[in-house]
Amino acid sequence: MNISHRVVQQNHLRRDVTSEANIIQRITKSAEEYLAPDGKQYRVITQKAVTSIADAENVSPLEVQVKALKQGIVPWRYLRNMGTIGPDGQVKLLQSAVAVVGAGGLGGTTIELLARQGVGHILIIDNDRFTEQNLNRQIMCTEMNLGEHKALVAARRVNQINSDIKVTALVKKLTQENAIALLKGAAIVVDGLDNLPSRIIVEKACRKLGIPFIYGTIAGFSGQMMTIYPEDKGLASIFGPNGSYPDQGIEMKIGTPSATPAMVAAWQVQEVIKIITGVGRPLRNHILLLDAIEGAIDKIELGGGE
């Protein structure tokens, strides 16, 4: 490195430090005191202030939120997340990318909740379009967007809920050939698929990428869920080594009522939050069977006695 290069680099560094200090100063100045009903005192910052600082300092609002949280100043929109995951957990979420494969029943609700929770980058993969029969259970589907691509509609919804986070919508069918390329960069992949062969492809890709896969599936008033880490036996632990069960399960005949996808997607999202923030224990090597008819939730430990 010659002298002029070094001087340029030092100048950049100085500007970065100044900018960082300016941002923090602005954040601190904009912070307000808030006494929560539980008596806890918070320092909070409004969405308007975040946007204004981001514009003035030419950084993203998400970057401002992260810096604020690191100062113990909570963006209002995440205040109700603090009691469970705290500022550190929120920063981890804001700095994470989560892929959702399939933007129908499970995927739609998952995307909605991830956006509200404040996951920094949501990647949506789906090549399907909304039809009338999706209206009963797919939260992103409305009478106004019938015929539109699910991934694009979901991305618009994310922007409406949380314009500070990044959303990438891919109108593509995930295949054996493109799975790794499409999912690369994600910290976790959430299952919003509707057939076993595709799930096996995604599980395999997640193993290769070294990231967890949150399996979920529904039929009638019931659903199943499991968190699969790369080293876990995963789908083979319930379907056997070949995964040779039919492409479609019984839900194709009995259908799926409105609340079932939301029931399972909610559990899937809890797993995402837990894994990224380090709160709680992920539901690994167990299958969760949710049965709304009987009002029962069963958790079966997998792999015992092998």
Partner: protein, 94 residues
Amino acid sequence: MAIITVRFYSLWRQYLGIDSTALEANNIEDALAKIEDEFGARLREQLKIDGIQADGKLQDYSLILLNGTSLRNLQQKDLKDGDVLQIFPPASGG
């Protein structure tokens, strides 16, 4: 002869109206035959009411685990007292 517990989950529990039963069996094949004899026809009848034609035996369209291990992954087919067979339907909706 081992005394084992058979547990039904999810839709199977709903259709059969029971969540568990005790069974005496020599090995897994024997247990599956007894389960099919006792519950197979009833389950298919209930499925038919919901418009689902299930072909074959109960074990052909169910996911079955022995103490948490899929029968498809099991090497050992013998049973011992206290073993639990867990039976539930596959689902693939999203």
